[in-house]
């Protein structure tokens, strides 16, 4: 049976045209326990306050649009069930990103960083279509499959204190995506990606707090990917500087 209960939804509001800084606004929302926080936001938008701005699309943890700080924790609004919370829920825009309006953040920085690691297959050599498909064994697929699950929701950036402190940091999702293609047996683009990934602002800004993996809604484990990238980059460095005769 669905049980209805009243919750106080405290939402961060910021209107760039009239506000000099954000403020909180509280709405009383009648919820059923099966609802997620996104449902409560939609209720506010439809019934109480049409001016509330927030991103969402699929309502099923696939599109990665509805990331908010819910009671201080980065969460997808569509995966945060009302019954897991008390009667007071606080929703803020994802931490570490500038606020565009209300719960909408500015994400250009992340998009540019993601693009900078060339997150697509760069084949080792050109192969004519007549030569047939690139074959891959199930074991080769397993090497990177976990990282393909990333939905670019940016919860990991909101969780990562190093990104908050050093905005130049390339960050968890972008480096995990680089790792995903580096690990792909069909790919030959690692050297190109390393130029960005192995720089100071790349993987070396990470200090393995591990928060990214704890909040990742798809269990991509970005922290693990970054440590593996560090190990591989370190081996590269020692090979390059101490054993220059070893061919890469």
């Amino acid at each position: 049976m669905s049980e209805e209960r009243q919750i106080q939804l405290e939402v961060l509001r910021y209107n760039p045209e009239t506000d000099s800084q954000p403020r909180f606004q509280t709405y009383t929302v009648p919820c059923v326990n099966e609802w997620v926080v996104l449902d409560a936001l939609n209720y506010v938008k439809e019934n109480l306050d049409p001016t509330l701005s927030y991103r969402w699309s699929c309502h099923m943890a696939v599109c990665g649009s509805c990331g908010y700080m819910i009671n201080g924790e980065p969460k997808l609004g569509c995966k945060a069930f009302i019954h897991e919370y008390g009667d007071h829920i606080r929703v803020e825009p994802l931490a570490h990103f500038p606020i565009e309006r209300d719960l909408v953040t500015v994400v250009e920085d992340f998009i540019a960083k993601l693009a900078s690691v060339k997150p697509y297959l760069i084949p080792k050599e050109d192969k004519p279509i007549s030569a047939g498909e690139f074959k891959q064994t199930p074991a080769e697929l397993m090497k990177f499959k976990q990282y393909t699950l990333c939905i670019n929701c940016m919860l990991c950036y909101a969780a990562c204190p190093q990104y908050g402190l050093v905005p130049e940091f390339l960050g968890p999702a972008a480096i995990s995506m680089a790792h995903r293609y580096n690990q792909d047996s069909r790919d030959g683009g690692r050297d190109q990606r390393q130029e960005v990934v192995a720089s100071d602002e790349g993987v070396w800004e990470c200090s393995f707090v591990g928060a990214c993996s704890e909040v990742c809604p798809k269990h991509v484990d970005p922290a693990g990917a970054l440590q593996q990238v560090k190990v591989a980059s370190t081996i590269d460095w020692y090979k390059e500087h101490l054993m220059p005769w070893v061919k890469k």
């Binding site: 204190p161 390393q194 130029e195 960005v196 192995a198 720089s199 100071d200 602002e201 790349g202 070396w204 200090s207 560090k230 190990v231 980059s233 370190t234 590269d236 460095w237 020692y238 500087h241």
Partner: protein, 113 residues
């Protein structure tokens, strides 16, 4: 973007993290027991001198101290930044300098035994 030279230090940090994780608690237990006078046979001059007198012993002592120092130095560099100090280059010189000095005197003392 230039590739970072942090791998030199990170390599030692990772090696040291692993070695200290395996050996430091047991080593501390021994010195703790010696400090608490559990037994007069703990951490004695004769046993330690005999261990440090041969090349294998020297190598083990040097290895453990080397990676422990550089592990701690590198992590301290990051930790100082985490506590809000924004002088990474200076901090790096200081912490790696201390580790380098420790490494140097370790070699000197080992060669004197």
């Amino acid at each position: 973007m230039a590739k970072s030279n942090k791998p030199i230090f990170w390599g030692l940090f990772a090696a040291g993290g692993t070695v200290t994780a395996f050996v430091t608690p047991a080593l501390v237990l021994i010195t703790l027991f010696a400090a608490m006078r559990f037994s007069p046979d703990l951490f004695t001059y004769e046993v330690l001198h005999a261990f440090a007198a041969n090349w294998l012993g020297k190598l083990i002592i040097f290895g453990v101290i080397l990676v422990s120092l550089w592990h701690a130095a590198h992590r301290l560099r990051v930790t100082v930044h985490d506590f809000g100090v924004r002088a990474d280059t200076l901090v790096a010189y200081v912490v790696y300098g201390i580790a380098g000095l420790g490494t140097f005197v370790t070699i000197v003392y080992l060669l004197r035994i």
